[in-house]
Symmetry: C2
């Protein structure tokens, strides 16, 4: 059975939990508390030298890191990844957008506020993250104003990757009030079969 | 013919130029000077709402953004991308590692020093980028101490993606002197057929 090294509050971990659940693939979840530096132990670094969760163990000793790479691997030959080469490329475009232009702003702000519980210690950094986070949300809003999903008018791993931190963006002090298309899309994602919330282990 | 919206000093642009050249695919390169905010014009934002280069125009009006998504698209069904599903997932893992754990440290430092030419204005930020950049180089060094390439013992887009900013890391004040395996790998990449330098349009 797959083993998922995970941290429950992590949106990156949630992406993998959600897809595994929707694919009906059983897995054992192993909590790794990043707040206690448990990703920096020699034992964990032997699993993922980059020291991050989620990390998926497919077979004993066979590890895959990077949430979006795990989504890619698990979704191959399923309805969650397009067969069409151009649509597949667009999925990739959104996955890299998420990791480069979205996550470092929105997820990082949420981490300081909600996971560390120290917004007062990160006021300057939080303010610096606001423009980039809102820019990412605006790019999403513009796309979703004309499309129900990110690629090919169906639910794919591009939606899963972007949903993970977007639906909890308010926990990082990002107001979704002015993003009507994003709010509609969030409801559309939450209505997918076998959807689970981020807090569900 | 493909049109590549590009900025010559950009390592992200270079990835695409290098792969297109090695695939022997002709393309028209259109310089977009990001220092003059040319990625923020209405005309460019209509091509890529996220306002970044490289952006590839495949057919008139059909655009693909994100350097590593472009590498993915172009390399499908070629020797630069593995057919094997597990190896393909490992390529993805390294591509996301590059964009999340490598580029924001090493490329950003180089940008402030070499492209903006303002190291004196970014001393604090440059110092903050050092630990993350060296951590990424150490992950690469550890892998390359035991492998000639990043995935499957052959040259793939994982190598192209990581080569782009690693071989110019000294321009961002990262010393490669203690990374012998990385330096050997750089020579191995530069010896590939049809290799071009980052400065070649």
């Amino acid at each position: 059975m797959y083993k998922l090294y995970d941290f429950l509050p992590s949106g990156n971990g949630y992406k993998v939990r959600l897809l595994l659940t929707q694919l009906d693939i059983p897995f054992e979840r192993i909590e790794v508390n990043i707040l206690n530096q448990e990703t920096r132990t020699p034992d964990f670094l032997a699993k993922n030298p980059n020291g991050r969760v989620p990390t998926l163990e497919l077979e004993p000793g066979q590890f895959l890191a990077e949430s979006n790479a795990i989504l890619y691997y698990l979704s191959q030959e399923t309805d969650f990844f397009p067969r069409d080469r151009w649509q597949a490329a667009q999925v990739m475009q959104w996955l890299f957008f998420e990791q480069y232009s979205h996550e470092p702003y929105i997820a990082t702000s949420r981490y300081w506020i909600t996971c560390l519980g120290q917004p007062e210690n990160y006021q300057t950094q939080l303010a610096q993250k606001q423009p980039g986070g809102y820019a990412a949300l605006q790019v999403m809003e513009q796309h979703l104003a004309e499309h129900d999903y990110f690629v090919g008018d169906r639910y794919t791993i591009a939606d899963i990757a972007l949903f993970a931190y977007t639906h909890v963006a308010p926990e990082g002090n990002f107001d979704l009030g002015r993003f009507a298309a994003i709010r509609d899309w969030i409801q559309r994602i939450q209505a997918q079969p076998r959807h689970i919330p981020i807090t569900q282990a």
